[in-house]
Amino acid sequence: MTLPREARRRAPVRFERRSQMPWAMRLIVPVLAIVGGLGVGAVILLIGNHSVSGAYQAMWQASFGSSSGFDQTLVQAIPLVLTGLAVTVALRLHIWNIGGEGQMALGAIAAAFVAFHLQHASGPLLLLLMFAAGAAGAAAWALIAAIPRALVGLNEIITTLFLNYIGLLLLSGLINGPWKDPTVVGFAYSKPLPNQASLPTLGSSGVSIGLYISLGIALVIWWLLDRTRYGFSLRIVGGNVRAAEYLRLGVRRRIVLVLMLSGALAGLAGVIEATTQSGRLQEGLTNNYGYVGILVAFLARRQVIPTVIVALLFAGLLNGGDALQATGIPSSIAQIVQAIIIIFVLAGEAGGSYRLVRRGRPREPALAPVAGGSQ
């Protein structure tokens, strides 16, 4: 590709595209990426005169290495599973829902709105209504991007991205304005939600039943996408819009519905955050889960069960980074390691879709989707 023409002709081997990465490589690439990411992180730590073992030990203890750390990791994994699923669902149609942040915010806003207006409802009923309102509010927010996408093809990446900022600023405006807690000075906190509007926790772990909710939703989504006719029809639309139109599959309707479902999933993440964290809305409620969800879904290759696993890994990394703050090592190292791991995975996947072939050996026609006419 970048070699001069002469050199290419003489090279004894050449790269050839292959349609699928071998199974073993799919496992090796992420492992190597994690090792490589930690390695680069170690170099950066050394340059900054920080203790590598100290940093990584603290991160490990706070993420997977101790039971209290693992509980915290689960707490962060709950919203990540949902925002990851939100992106996964939309990606089945090759639609990029970048708007998880905004949809989380709208979910939390809608849920809080219900809670503030039904102060005296019983706990289970109130929670149920809050979840319904949060899902509906976030779905409606996603609809703003879905309708122009379905009708005139307006790029959903742009619209959902900007709707993030509008949604987050709306949340910020509410907790600094009409919903502000007058008794708290210096922090932007909303009034507290009613006491009964908090999700019960599992034993003394601090992990809420949101864990079961998100895993249950993941199962339902898996069933919907991979085990139903509807899920299969989404694959057709995502794979070939023209074929789908020829089959009268209702492409526009599916785009709108799937984006709304995607928004609702992210919205539920917002509701869970609002009903588990401090019992009120606050700045930073979304904690970038919407954006990290995009990376989770992409690395999980649009598959539901891997999305759950990758979400757990990312939660551990985020949580490990938070824990560094107490040790005096800049917690930004976790962000750097996270970014480098993603870059290595992306590069590994790009490299893995090629293989070295000796000149003169016939290619396997079934596996090579290479157009013959490039030369």
Partner: protein, 309 residues
């Protein structure tokens, strides 16, 4: 009256980093590469520029190294998306995470330092005496004056020169450009790196001249505003200038209102750039569709010689 003049004048200052970053993103996008890492590249430019300014005392050097730092980060995006053809959206978001993390790591010990020596505003003789206009436009520092010059020059190169034609051809149809002998991969790489350097300059302006200090995530979403600005300007270089003035003014108005103690929630004003962009986008898109609106046809698509088209 004074209130509005101060707001407009600050708007020109705050529009400057937006203009640099946006015109950089515009170059990359006209070549067909979306880079959502603008925020990260601005942050890297800001922190590196600030550290260089503190260590050497040279503002020029600060801007040069800041621009290079932005360019290096952009080059990562270039290699990943142009050569390895990874997804531009995912890579751009990752670049923002990387830039945010790296800038915070580098700036860890610089949070409480202030720059004592930097560029000061210089009035342009005669022009700065014009009532109102003079104070709004002609009493700024050199980097502000340079912004419209850079934008116009880049606009001329894109629309009037052979290299601009290469750039546009690469962004519209890389296969056709390749067949015509345009070095498509080189054009995209240069465009992405230039874009990163301009984002770095925008970031360095914030830390070295505007606040004279470094704080974590000090760009405060301006990288995303710059991306909005490119779309707001419908990918036309000259429209970046009025757009940057408008978005900068909104930013400045916010500060002014807060300083005055007016209880308009600043969040609703901050929303405006995004709302404007969405509304303009929706209106024009429904009327004209993609072609006339100016979005490069191959935007976001990696080019692959071997692919069937």
């Amino acid at each position: 009256m004074n209130f509005w003049i101060t707001a407009l004048s600050t708007g020109v200052v705050l529009g400057t980093p937006l203009a640099y970053a946006a015109v950089g993103e515009l170059i990359a996008e006209r070549a067909g590469v979306v880079n959502l890492g603008v925020e990260g590249m601005m942050l890297i430019g800001a922190v590196v520029g600030f550290v260089v300014a503190i260590k050497t005392g040279s503002v020029t050097l600060a801007f040069i190294i800041g621009a290079l730092a932005g360019g290096v980060l952009a080059a990562v995006h270039g290699v990943m998306t142009i050569n390895l053809r990874t997804n531009q959206i995912v890579m751009g978001l990752t670049l923002t995470i990387l830039g945010t993390g790296l800038s915070s790591y580098i700036g860890n010990n610089y949070g409480y330092q202030a720059l004592s020596h930097t560029l000061t505003p210089v009035g342009i003789p005669l022009l700065d005496k014009i009532p109102w206009i003079g104070k709004i436009f002609f009493r700024h520092d050199f980097v502000v004056y340079l912004a419209p010059v850079v934008v116009v020059l880049i606009g001329l190169v894109i629309t009037r020169t052979r290299y601009g034609l290469w750039l546009r051809a690469t962004g519209e149809s890389p296969a056709a450009a390749d067949a015509a002998g345009v070095p498509v991969f080189l054009v995209r790489h240069v465009a992405v790196v230039l874009g990163g350097m301009l984002a770095g300059i925008g970031g360095a302006y914030l830390s070295v001249i505007y606040t004279r200090s470094w704080s974590d995530q000090m760009t405060a979403g301006r990288g995303w505003i710059a991306i909005a600005l490119v779309i707001f300007a419908s990918w036309r270089p000259l429209l970046i200038l009025p757009g940057a003035l408008l978005f900068g003014f909104i930013d400045a108005l916010n500060f002014q209102l807060q300083a005055k103690g007016v209880s308009v929630p600043s969040q609703y004003l901050s929303m405006m750039p995004y709302v404007f962009t969405l509304v303009v986008l929706a209106l024009v898109w429904t009327r004209q569709r993609r072609r006339n609106w100016g979005m490069p046809l191959a935007l976001g698509n990696p080019y692959e010689r071997e692919a069937r088209s």
